[in-house]
């Protein structure tokens, strides 16, 4: 009797304790914000963002790691975050950054100039770390020095008026993230897993699996203590892999998701019809926000027959951009006219290229394309496909399978090429494999990409990505995904010379548009990549639990919640009702 009683008591106690623990971990749905993740987290225990993989866009750089500045797409200004400002010398070769006072790591240590100098030096000294942000720093910075606890000076190898926005300003997707010296010191940055991770952000890491990552609010956040900003309202942030348009749509309808990745316009209309709380960037058609990364067809210029510029040009003639817009995007975007994002701030450069006659048509000229193929010695076989020496003219086009936006675009390109006589075939690959293995190592013939992405108010950031200095052999990693087409030769060299000259000029120099047009003649003649269409992202956002989402009317910044600027979105969210 006594024994039974003891056991009963014991198990009741244990159960109560377990219940209590479970209870402490439960956060109510209305205090949780759930974002959509479009990829699998292959290595959920690793938080070393210097290494390839899903190490930052699963919530880490949206909630835990903060940038120094955030580029505001609306005002064009750099919103200060961990830094408060910067100064440059006359010729833009030396930059002095001032850090914010009172910033703390989540373990209580102070964030200061030592961390900045340490992290930058780590990137400078370790050639093997490969992330785009680290490569960019390594290419630009000669040395970095601490002036005092809140001041850091960078000496650059070459003048670069865009240094801060490029490296620390979340201009495109991410920024160079500062790591805590007291944790990383003595570790090998190429292999260190950084688990458990810490950051300066208002959230700390709770748990992660291959399909989700959970971040909980740190009520002791420095920003609230110093008065920089209030604590964000959500107590918990979840990044959840939803997988596919159908399931993300269903999750939006049932309020199991607060912000979803890109969906088609028909899907969005269906979601909104079933759940009127779901909104998008524009309240009316076409709903979508324009993304600064225009879509393109990347061509590996080292593989025959595509090493022949005439063949690449032929493909460019055969592609019908307006059909891609109408079918894959259901009319929500526009065909690309040049490699650049068609933002108002880019108009002078786009116009210069068009005036010089290198603008791209919206529709195809299949006959011109076929003439070029025939000139190269191919003849059409019985099945309508070109042949030479018994070999069919074929091409594999690798495409990231994470979104139907990508696969549908390539389905259309494949169709267009086949009908013109090129046996094209789509090879869908998982997101991680696509970015980790296919693109950077040049293991493709053609590929869907947006790697000329970069420029939003000047032309260099995009054009500088295809210079000969970034050419590496197939099988080696392209530095920072630059020139993955491996475009080299005389035309590429001439192009690179002009682009390198352009790099030294300050923003707004009147010579720049002319130089853009001059450099662009080589791109137009050789086509290492073929611009397709402007990107538009239709991101459904749910106002059932949270309001304050970024929209055209509430434009505090753009809505791409996988970027490093998502701190701003989370701080703007307010509990509904």
């Amino acid at each position: 009797m006594k024994l039974t009683k003891t056991i009963l008591m014991g198990s009741t106690l244990a159960l109560t304790a377990m219940w209590g623990a479970a209870f402490a971990q439960n956060v109510a749905r209305e205090d949780t914000v759930i974002f959509d993740l479009d990829r699998t987290i292959k290595d959920p225990d690793n938080f070393n963002w210097f290494t390839p993989g899903t190490k930052r866009m699963h919530g880490a750089h949206q909630t835990m790691w903060e940038p120094l500045f955030i580029l505001n797409y609306n005002t064009g200004a750099l919103d200060p975050w961990l830094a408060t400002g910067f100064e440059a010398n006359e010729d833009s070769t030396e930059f002095t950054l001032t850090l914010r006072d009172g910033v703390e790591w989540s373990d209580g240590e102070a964030f200061n100039a030592d961390d900045v100098v340490f992290t930058v030096n780590m990137a400078l000294e370790n050639e093997e770390i490969s992330s785009r942000e680290a490569s960019t720093i390594r290419a630009q910075v000669a040395s970095v020095e601490k002036v005092d606890d809140l001041t850091v000076t960078f000496a650059l190898k070459e003048p670069n008026p865009r240094f801060v926005v490029e490296n620390f300003g979340v201009r495109i997707f991410g920024s160079f993230l500062i790591m805590p010296e007291h944790v990383w010191n003595g570790e090998d940055p190429a292999t260190f897993a950084f688990n458990p991770p810490i950051g300066t952000g208002p959230y700390t890491f709770t748990s992660a699996a291959t399909n989700r990552a959970i971040w909980d609010r740190n009520d002791d956040w420095w920003g609230a203590k110093t008065g920089f900003m209030d604590l964000p309202e959500p107590q918990r942030v979840i990044f959840l892999e939803t997988g596919g348009a159908e399931s993300r749509a269903q999750l939006m309808v049932t309020n199991e998701l607060d912000a979803a990745q890109n969906v088609g316009v028909g899907t969005f209309e269906a979601i909104a019809a079933q759940n009127p709380n779901v909104i998008a960037w524009h309240s009316d058609y076409p709903y979508a926000a324009s993304d600064p990364c225009a879509r393109q067809l990347e061509i590996n210029t080292t593989v025959t027959p595509w090493d022949n510029p005439a063949m690449r040009k032929a493909v460019a003639h055969i592609i019908d951009r307006s059909q891609i817009v109408n079918v894959a995007y259901e009319g929500t975007t526009v065909p690309s006219e040049t490699m650049f994002a068609q933002y108002g701030s880019m108009a002078p450069f786009i116009d210069a290229v068009k005036e010089a006659g290198y603008g791209l048509p919206a529709t195809a000229d299949v006959a011109a394309g076929q003439a070029l193929i025939e000139e190269a010695g191919w003849t059409k076989g019985g099945d309508g496909i070109y042949e030479k020496d018994g070999q069919q003219l074929s091409v594999d086009i690798h495409v990231n399978s994470a979104s139907t936006e990508y696969t549908r675009t390539i389905d259309i390109v494949v169709e267009q090429l086949n009908r013109a006589g090129i046996a094209a075939k789509a090879v869908p690959v998982e997101n991680g494999v696509f970015w980790g293995e296919v693109l950077p190592f040049g293991k493709y013939e053609m590929s869907y990409s947006w790697l000329s992405c970069g420029s939003v108010n000047e032309p260099w950031a995009s054009m500088g990505r295809y210079t000969v200095s970034d050419v590496v052999p197939v099988g080696e990693r392209s530095p920072g995904f630059n020139n993955t087409a491996r475009w080299s030769g005389d035309a590429a060299a001439a192009y690179s010379a002009i682009v390198d000259q352009m790099a030294d000029l300050t923003l707004g120099d009147p010579e720049i548009p002319g130089m853009v047009a001059e450099a662009y003649q080589h791109l137009d003649a050789e086509m290492p990549f073929i611009p397709l269409v402007q990107a538009a992202k239709l991101l459904p956002m749910n106002t059932t639990y949270w309001t304050g989402w970024p929209t055209a009317e509430n434009y505090y910044n753009h809505p791409f919640f996988w970027w490093n600027h998502t701190h701003q979105i989370i701080h703007n969210l307010e509990k509904a009702g």
Binding site: G244, Q250, G266, T267, R408, A426
Partner: protein, 312 residues
């Protein structure tokens, strides 16, 4: 009263016997209604493919050749667009005509099933007869091989294979599937051959010096035909299910329209939430028809080979 009753009874009996006699003359087991209906359904699908190819514009199966997401004639889609006569069964989200898709796709799915099980059955017949008739080491090898292979789930292997291979042609897919449908016919035939081997006519043939292949294929095979047919239809069903399974996962051929791939694309493009029921519904309906047809044929063949199942 009793006499008229009796007379009527006799008359009825006579009529019944007469009818039975007449029926007997036509009582060919191959003409049972299940078999006829089943064959009819499959032929209808084949006819749809053949006649459709002559009458319909097949260019409409290519991406971007029609307006997007139009409903079938007589329906409206979510955007309140009515169906039009040019695309009577509606269009999909990539601008393809559903009618053209099924005209091309339905016979393709049937083709994969038939080809795969034809190859699988032929392999099964040869191996089964050899194992059963030759016996010994040969039997051991074949038996162990088919027993091992039968435990491997085909879809699992094929998914790995296809995703490594990338785009495959229909014939290639049929060949791959054939590698997984030969085991059960092999076992079935081996068992039948073993029991038949003891029967008088086989031993007679052996005594009169007929060659092994002659005995196997001239003496024994004809007696197995109903069995073989039943087994053939069963493996067609398995092969189609496997093929459609692969296609629905997006692992089938890319530019060749198949019913499975159409369903895959519909799911992928969010057709369920957009209420584009014709996009996934019509191919599903056709697949259902195909399977019901195959099932009926199978039941009908059962009646042929097993007289006890026939209605009295």
């Amino acid at each position: 009263m009793t006499s008229t009753d009796h007379q009527a009874e006799i008359a009825a009996d006579k009529a019944a016997r007469k009818r039975a006699k007449r029926m007997k003359r036509f009582d060919n087991p191959w003409l049972n209604p299940k078999l006829i209906w089943g064959a009819g359904l499959l032929l209808a699908i084949v006819a749809l493919g053949l006649i459709g190819r002559m009458l319909w514009n097949l260019e409409l199966v290519y991406t971007g050749s029609t307006p997007l997401k139009l409903p079938p004639l007589g329906f409206e889609n979510l955007r309140k667009q009515p169906g039009v006569l040019d695309y009577p069964l509606g269009t999909d989200g990539s601008g393809r005509d559903i009618l053209a898709l099924i005209i091309m796709g339905a016979p393709n799915s049937l083709f994969v099933g038939l080809l795969a099980s034809l190859i699988g059955m032929s392999t099964g017949i040869v191996l089964g007869f050899t194992a059963g008739f030759v016996g010994g080491r040969t039997d051991d090898v074949i038996r162990v091989l088919s027993d091992v292979m039968i435990t491997i789930p085909p879809l699992l292997i094929l998914v790995v294979f296809q995703s490594a291979f990338g785009d495959v042609s229909l014939t290639m897919m049929a060949l791959l599937i054939a590698g997984f449908v030969w085991q059960s016919p092999t076992r079935l035939i081996r068992a039948q051959v073993l029991s038949m081997k003891q029967s008088g006519y086989v031993q007679m043939a052996q005594l009169s010096g007929a060659s092994t292949t002659d005995i196997m294929f001239k003496e024994m095979l004809p007696n197995l035909i109903p069995y073989l047919f039943g087994s053939f239809i069963a493996s067609v069903t398995t092969a189609i299910v496997t093929a459609v399974g692969l296609e629905v996962l997006g692992l089938g051929p890319q530019r060749i329209p198949t019913l499975g791939r159409t369903i895959y694309e519909a799911i992928n493009a969010g057709a369920l939430i957009q209420n584009l029921w014709w996009w996934w519904g019509i191919p599903t309906l056709l697949l259902a028809t195909m399977f019901i047809g195959l099932l009926l044929i199978n039941l009908g063949l059962d009646e042929v080979s097993n007289p006890r199942l026939r209605k009295a």
